[in-house]
C-alpha cells in the first residue's frame, strides 16, 4: 500500500486509474468468484474523480486518499444497498454510514462495492448467501470461508487492495486463512460497531483484510478508536502504525496451547504452524506450552450465545420500517410471512435455537450457563496472558473445504474451533498465511494478543510474514 500511496503522491497514477484497474479485475474474475453483491462502478468513479481533484489541489485527506476498498455487505453504507446477503434486505438502502465507513471515507478511501457473506454473517463458508456462493480464488470448487468470504476472496483475487470484514467467531480470520490473506479481529471494543448489522453484539468486531500485515495494520489504524455512538467502544485507543522492529521476537514469550494442536487438526496445517514456531524460536522467541482446556467448550458456548443474541437482533426485521413485506390480513401473520420468506434456512435455524435458549423455561440451563462457561474461558485466557505475550495456533483445523461438503450444521460450526475463543474472551487475534498444503491451498496461522495488544501481534506477524511466500493480493 505504501507503493500505491507513493505512486498516487507522485502523480504517477491517479485514483481513477486505480479504480478502473479494480473494476477491470472485478469484471474478469467476478463471474467465477462472486465475491461482490454490489459493485458501485459509477459511485466509485465519482469518488475517484473527487480524490484526484483533491490530489491536484494538494489537499489529499490522507496518504491513502484515492485507494479503493471493498466493504462487507453487513456494514451500513449511506445510499448504497446493504443486503446482509439476505432476501429480506435485497433492496435496502441505508440512510446512514457506519462509523467505520465514515472513517475510511474521511481518509479518502473509495468504496468500490459490497462483498458477499453468509446471510447476516451466519456461517463459515459464504455458502448461505441469498446472492450465491463465493468461490475460493485458489480453487473455485472450494469455499472462500466465511462469513467474510467475499471480503477475503476479493483481496486474494486482487480485485481490491484491501477490505473490511466482521468477525463474531472467526469470520475474518477463517476466510483470511482459506484465501491466503491477512485478517485481524481487533480487541472487542477497539473498533466501533455503529452501523454494523449485529449478529451477536457481545462478540462482533469489524476488522481489516489485506494482502500484507502492514496493509492490514494501515487499514486498522484508519478505523480503530473510540466512538461516542458505540457504548462498548469508548475505552478504545486509536492505533498508530508501529516501527516494524524485527527484534520484537527477542525474548518474546509465545504460548502454544496443546489443545489447538490435537485431534481434528490436519497434518499439513499442523506442520506449517510448527514450522513457524520453530523459526520464531530460532529468532529468539521462547515457546511455552500452555493449556486452554476450556476451549473444548468454546464452540458450544459460542453457539448458545450467538443464537440467543442473534434471535433478538434479527427480530427487528419485521417488515414495518424497511425490508421486504409479504402482505397479510393482520400484523402478526405479516410478521411471520415476511420473516419466513425473507430469511434463509441457516438464519431461521439460528433464530429458532436462539429463541429456545432464551425462553423462560430454558434460559437458566442454556443461556446463563453458557455465560458462566464464557467467564471460565475468559479467565483461562487471562491467566495465559499473564504468562505469555502472544498465543500462536493454526487459524483453522483444515484448509478450505469443498463447496457443499459440510451438510451438517454442527460440522460447519466446528470451523470456528480455534477462533471463537478470542471472541469469547474479547482479545485480539489475527490470521496470516504461513504456507500452502499439497493442493496449493493456503494455510493460516493465528496470533492472539491480550486486550489492546494489536501492535504486538502485528509486529510478530510482520516477522513471520518475512519468511512466508506471498500467495495472493492486488497487482498493478
Amino acid at each position: 500500500m505504501r507503493r500505491l500511496a507513493q505512486l498516487l503522491a507522485a502523480g504517477e497514477i491517479t485514483s481513477t486509474e486505480l479504480v478502473r484497474r479494480c473494476l477491470e479485475r472485478i469484471k474478469e474474475t467476478e463471474p467465477e468468484l462472486n465475491a461482490f453483491i454490489t459493485v458501485d462502478e459509477e459511485g466509485a468513479l465519482v469518488q475517484a474523480a473527487q480524490s484526484d481533484e483533491r490530489r491536484a489541489r494538494s489537499q489529499a485527506l490522507s496518504p491513502w486518499d484515492g485507494i479503493p476498498l471493498a466493504v462487507k455487505d453487513n456494514i451500513s453504507t449511506k445510499g448504497l444497498r446493504t443486503t446482509c446477503a439476505s432476501r429480506f434486505l435485497r433492496s435496502y438502502r441505508p440512510v446512514y454510514d457506519a462509523t467505520v465507513v465514515e472513517r475510511v471515507k474521511r481518509a479518502g478511501l473509495i468504496i468500490i462495492g459490497k462483498t458477499n457473506l453468509d446471510e447476516f454473517a451466519m456461517g463459515s463458508s459464504t455458502e448461505y448467501s441469498a446472492f450465491g456462493v463465493t468461490k475460493n480464488p485458489h480453487d473455485p470448487a472450494r469455499v472462500a470461508g466465511g462469513s467474510s468470504g467475499g471480503s477475503a476472496a476479493a483481496v486474494a483475487a486482487g480485485q481490491v487492495p484491501w477490505s473490511l470484514g466482521t468477525d463474531t467467531g472467526g469470520s475474518i480470520r477463517q476466510p483470511a486463512a482459506f484465501c491466503g490473506v491477512v485478517g485481524l479481529k481487533p480487541t472487542y471494543g477497539r473498533v466501533s460497531r455503529y452501523g454494523v448489522v449485529a449478529l451477536a453484539p457481545s462478540l462482533d468486531q469489524v476488522g481489516p483484510l489485506a494482502a500484507t500485515v502492514e496493509d492490514a495494520a494501515i487499514l486498522f489504524s484508519l478505523i480503530a478508536g473510540a466512538d461516542p455512538r458505540d457504548a462498548t467502544s469508548t475505552e478504545a485507543r486509536p492505533f498508530a502504525l508501529p516501527a516494524w522492529d524485527p527484534q520484537v521476537v527477542q525474548g518474546l514469550k509465545v504460548g502454544v496451547p496443546e489443545e489447538f494442536f490435537s485431534s481434528g487438526l490436519h497434518g499439513e496445517v499442523e506442520a506449517a504452524a510448527r514450522s513457524v514456531l520453530r523459526s520464531l524460536e530460532e529468532q529468539g522467541a521462547v515457546l511455552q506450552p500452555i493449556s486452554l482446556a476450556s476451549n473444548e467448550y468454546a464452540i458450544d458456548t459460542y453457539l448458545t450465545l450467538v443464537t440467543a443474541e442473534a434471535s433478538s437482533c434479527l427480530a427487528r426485521f419485521d417488515g414495518v420500517r424497511y425490508g421486504e413485506r409479504v402482505p397479510a390480513g393482520d400484523v402478526n401473520t405479516m410478521f411471520a410471512k415476511s420473516r419466513g420468506a425473507g430469511f434463509g434456512p441457516e438464519v431461521k435455524r439460528r433464530i429458532m435455537l436462539g429463541t429456545y435458549v432464551l425462553s423462560a423455561s430454558h434460559y437458566e440451563a442454556y443461556y446463563e450457563q453458557a455465560q458462566r462457561v464464557r467467564t471460565l474461558i475468559r479467565q483461562e485466557v487471562a491467566r495465559a496472558f499473564a504468562e505469555v505475550d502472544v498465543i500462536i495456533t493454526p487459524t483453522t483445523p483444515t484448509t478450505a473445504f469443498r463447496i457443499g461438503e459440510k451438510r451438517n450444521p454442527l460440522e460447519m460450526y466446528l470451523s470456528d474451533l480455534y477462533t471463537a475463543t478470542a471472541n469469547l474472551s474479547g482479545v485480539c487475534a489475527l490470521s496470516l498465511p504461513c504456507g500452502s498444503d499439497a493442493r496449493g491451498l493456503p494455510i493460516g496461522l493465528q496470533i492472539m494478543g491480550n486486550h489492546f495488544q494489536e501492535e504486538l501481534i502485528f509486529q510478530v506477524a510482520h516477522v513471520v510474514e518475512a519468511n512466508v511466500e506471498r500467495v495472493a493480493g492486488f497487482e498493478l
Partner: protein
C-alpha cells in the same frame, strides 16, 4: 411450534421437522455445557468490563421525514402503515 410463533417465523412442515432435528443436536451441546462445573462464577455478558458510558442530554439532528419513510414497505400520510393488529375473529 411454540418457538416459531414466538419468533414470528412462518415455517413449512419440512422446515419444522428439520429444525426440530437440529434442535436435538444442539441440545446435546447445551447439555455438554451443563456438565461444566462453573462453581460460583458470574456470567459474562460483556467481553470487556467497560465503565459506565453516558451521553449528555443534547438534542441532535433527526432525519427528514422522507428519509425516515423512504424504506417503508407501506406508508401513508407521514406514517408507516400496518395491517390490522388484532387477529381477525370472523
Amino acid at each position: 411450534m411454540r418457538m416459531a410463533r414466538l419468533a414470528r417465523l412462518e415455517l413449512s412442515e419440512e422446515e419444522i421437522e428439520l429444525y426440530l432435528r437440529d434442535l436435538n443436536g444442539f441440545l446435546a451441546s447445551g447439555r455438554k455445557l451443563q456438565q461444566v462445573d462453573v462453581g460460583g462464577l458470574a456470567g459474562t455478558s460483556h467481553a470487556l468490563t467497560v465503565g459506565t458510558v453516558l451521553r449528555p442530554d443534547q438534542v441532535g439532528e433527526s432525519l427528514p421525514q422522507a428519509a425516515v419513510l423512504a424504506e417503508g414497505p407501506e406508508v401513508m400520510d407521514g406514517y408507516f402503515k400496518v395491517p390490522r393488529i388484532v387477529e381477525g375473529q370472523e
